[in-house]
Symmetry: D5
Subunit: 149 residues, 10 copies
């Protein structure tokens, strides 16, 4: 089910929202604390750069915001926009890190790309960024939800 909404073109607004989306930052209301926001995004899909066949992953973000937090709907649409891109496991995971670092300048951030099995091998990429002299929390990776399906 996707909700039908007033003021939206039936059957098309999803495409348009994904195409027009920009990752959006909002002010962090608690900048004095090193708190951690964890996201699990189980519906990532892209296309293999070599074959064009689909790939699937859960993307897990953990970050300690500084001045800004990421707006959730823009993050969802940003993830949706990988659907028709041809990109490798390493490149997509690191690109999400680069884009969120550029947007947020967080104190610390870690992206995990947990991809489904290909060629009988499962691949999980973990990549991380911290500001110099960062001494805040770096929580061990943890899944709070089961995989999609």
């Amino acid at each position: 089910m996707q909700e039908t909404e007033q003021g939206r073109e039936p059957g098309r607004y999803g495409f348009e929202e994904i195409a027009a989306n920009q990752l959006e930052a909002w002010p962090n209301a608690y900048p004095d604390r090193d708190y951690v926001t964890h996201f699990e995004i189980p519906e990532f899909t892209c296309l293999c750069p070599r074959s064009g066949f689909p790939d699937f992953a859960t993307i897990i973000v953990d970050y300690v915001p500084d001045k800004n937090v990421v707006e959730l709907k823009s993050l969802k649409l940003y993830i949706n926009a990988y659907r028709n891109r041809q990109i490798s496991h390493e490149a997509s995971t690191n690109a999400i890190l680069d884009d969120l670092v550029a947007l947020l300048a967080p104190r610390w951030i870690r992206i995990v790309g947990d991809f489904t099995v290909r060629g009988n091998i499962k691949t999980v990429i973990t990549t991380e960024y911290a500001i110099p002299e960062y001494h805040g929390p770096r929580p061990e990776l943890r899944r709070f939800m089961p995989a999609i399906g």
Copy 2:
């Protein structure tokens, strides 16, 4: 990872194989027995007919072949071909049933579409076909693998 193969156009052959694919039937080598073939296909994705946003599901097939069995690679490509279609949960599940019945004329077949949550509601569609006077096995639905991720 998608395997690079000789004689294939780099970066494009997946698109071409999916576009050109026809569901293919092979002769059933054991037509005298009512045996059950179970498939779990955790990487189904399509687009919502109303919004255009992506939907995700695991498709579970159980069937008792008569004269023919489905060829696995053609089934995979057939499922891949839903990626850019706008189709509802009920329609995709019943369409897979219709297509496999048309191809195989099986003695019995059941399709389950186990979709991810939308609007805080999880939906699972179960649809079934049997030849008249069928008295063979109708096994209770069972998951042999965990969901993708």
Copy 3:
């Protein structure tokens, strides 16, 4: 996150949509088959008729449609509308059954209200309706998703 939408009053449209909602039926596109639609709705909450304290449940619907299917967004809003009602476990589970039978006239339907522990006792109510001479599927109760949290 709840999505901010164009043409909606910021901070209020959820209240309005829930208050104005009517359960809505759509035509069943596959009336010739006895197929089963399963819903899990883990975010049910109401108020205890005796104390006013909140109660929580997962509502599980299984039904075989006849001429109509329930529209998903109207079902979500219908469930949301219990939030401020004072109603017992038995009454809410049976009321959902009555309302969906009245709306859909399904061939078969079962509602399970799986409530959280109160007074050190867990309560689960299961109630069911079928048309006379119904011989279609009555699947054993099954959970496809984990509980909320």
Copy 4:
């Protein structure tokens, strides 16, 4: 079930207790030890500040008391009081931290808000406070109970 009690207005006392409640501190009977109290509160619900639709979470508290401990029934009623508030995930988690720090002046405290999926993304907020020069236990987050449902 909510217990009917003598001296309470039938059907209303829950509302009244929640409305009248103040978080209450009791003296810590073991102030010489850095011991940890862990609470899991799976029945948190509030309203989205942007849409008014309900949100759900499990709130997990771990703290090392100093002079005072929190009284459990007042904590339950405090959590109940979020039901009709419009508040974001980050704000509710940090507000619970602020309120318990103000009440208890604990040596160390951590609040986790483990929210249900919205927009296909699961969010978990973790926020923490310690007195200066705190060297006591900071246990890794751990769930002792399953989610509600």
Copy 5:
């Protein structure tokens, strides 16, 4: 935590409520349907008739009410009253069946006593009653909650 209540003797009212309790029946508001109420009561304890040492069990009740349903708080207090009784596994499970049949005259009822290990052997007793010519639901035993602890 046990709630302190107005009009109750501090530290004693639990004893008094358990001692004074009578299992109580309320009218069934849905007597036209064969619906099932399932209870799980994980905090049963009694004393061994031979040694006096404590025994522990989860009691699971499934029943189809006729004219009456059991009132939940009276059921909790009834179960609490076994705490100081010396009674065997078979006797307690069958006694609960007898008492609920006498109170409710249900259409169908099943009691399961799922006791903890003694002498390296786990014992589970299942006992059932139905009115003559009963053809309603007899659901397979199912646990909706994990054991206590």
Copy 6:
């Protein structure tokens, strides 16, 4: 089942053994090593100091013995003796710590009281003692058995 034994008063010896029991220390046969003994005791029950209603917990002990180890049967009877005591969660967990420290003078010991839900909140108390300058093992808390039931 509790074993009937020769030389014991039928139906009563459990009461007598519990009433007469003293926690008992035995010499540690391996005093040169810092080894860890872990106990899980899932059948703890006591009474709420405010209401008199029963409480239930699993008690988890981890300790590094010095000159003495605790005798297991005396520990079981010691735990049994809480059955009729009115004591809070914090007090029982810390009292077990105090009693075992007084008996054993261990190098390190940790007691966890993992109590069942009350008022919709689960409580787990963790309390610990070490001799000055202790540098031996302090293993992360771990459950080796499932909860009772």
Copy 7:
């Protein structure tokens, strides 16, 4: 831990009790009902008839008593007595069935021997007996406890 008891030879009484034991029947206090008693006995061990190496199993008993029930301590000692016997998987499972049928003349009984892996193959033997014209319960096999370890 095995309890030291008065009137028993230290270090030896276990051997003597196992050697002297006779399976013992007690009168069934509820002969009018077809109720089911389920036992799980995870500490079965015997010796391979061909090699002499140890084998391990969980023995699961389900039965509907007629005039008699089995006494639990005698059942435990009976199971202990297999420790030094050389007997195959099929023979031990069927022998337990034969011995309990001979002792109890139950209405229905099922023995499952769930053996650990040998030669990379796991073996589970299920054997059953019923009196002629038995129409009482035959519950699906169910494990209520995890395996030993």
Copy 8:
């Protein structure tokens, strides 16, 4: 580890035992009962008939013997012998059924081939044989062990 044995050629006897093996039948010591023997064999591997790449499966056998039972070591070696055969999922599962029916003439037998994912699709084949007029047990498929790894 594979055991080195006297009288065996070091490093080679496994090859020789597999090559020389014949499935072997032994007399059934309990021919008067319809008992079920369940085997799980998680270490099946063969080669794909089309590509030559390895396939992996767990083979699950359930059967009710008549005059004979299968000798376990010969069954293990028989399964080992598929390692270098090129055979499809359907063919291997049905061939195991054919070979055990030919050897044993069982009253009832079911073979399940639970293969690992290939081409993003999991396949499980279930095939069954019974003598005419068979009315004995046909237990629902059940896994008693986890998969290999």
Copy 9:
């Protein structure tokens, strides 16, 4: 299913690809970051050096690349090539480490060989390499997928 491909000898190309394969390194596109790549390869099999009987394992690789990453298809074929080698648990795990260190000169790498039970004992080998003065991530071992089967 193994895919039939154009330009490949039917039934044979798998053998040829495995025989001809060389582990292949590709340039690391993100050499400035210490990111971790995790692989799980559940379909490892080799032969026991003493008996010739098959062994099975899941191989788990975690590494932090420096100038190069391993190409996934060449890794799969490299693992396939152990199928007919006689090699011990320790030797295969350490050989995979040696080969990947020689190929990649990674900053850090850990290989885990998680072998199935032999002689009633499960063996897991963990071996690790780091460049001198390495201070990057060394994540705790973690399984992201269930075992094969």
Copy 10:
């Protein structure tokens, strides 16, 4: 199943092999690396020193070899030899440590004895040895297999 072998006395060779066994050391082929070997041995059984009744445990060994590794079959037979010994939980766990230290002079070794419940208490003993100035791996305890049964 225990394999019948040529050159062995039928029904007796297991006893003889266990009785004659000596723990055996083999040269470590990778002495330059601090790698970890993990064993899980779920079929340990011995006899209680006070009662003579059987005790059961899983023994978990983790060690970093120096010049020698333990030969697996001799380890299995060594464990089998506890079957008829009367020994406490602490003594058996520490004795296995002492014997393996004496045999292997490992760099680091940890033995865990995970015993089944006795007297309603589960006991797990963890004991460890390291050479002076050891700085190699000391992995957190981890179970790779489920318990026996």
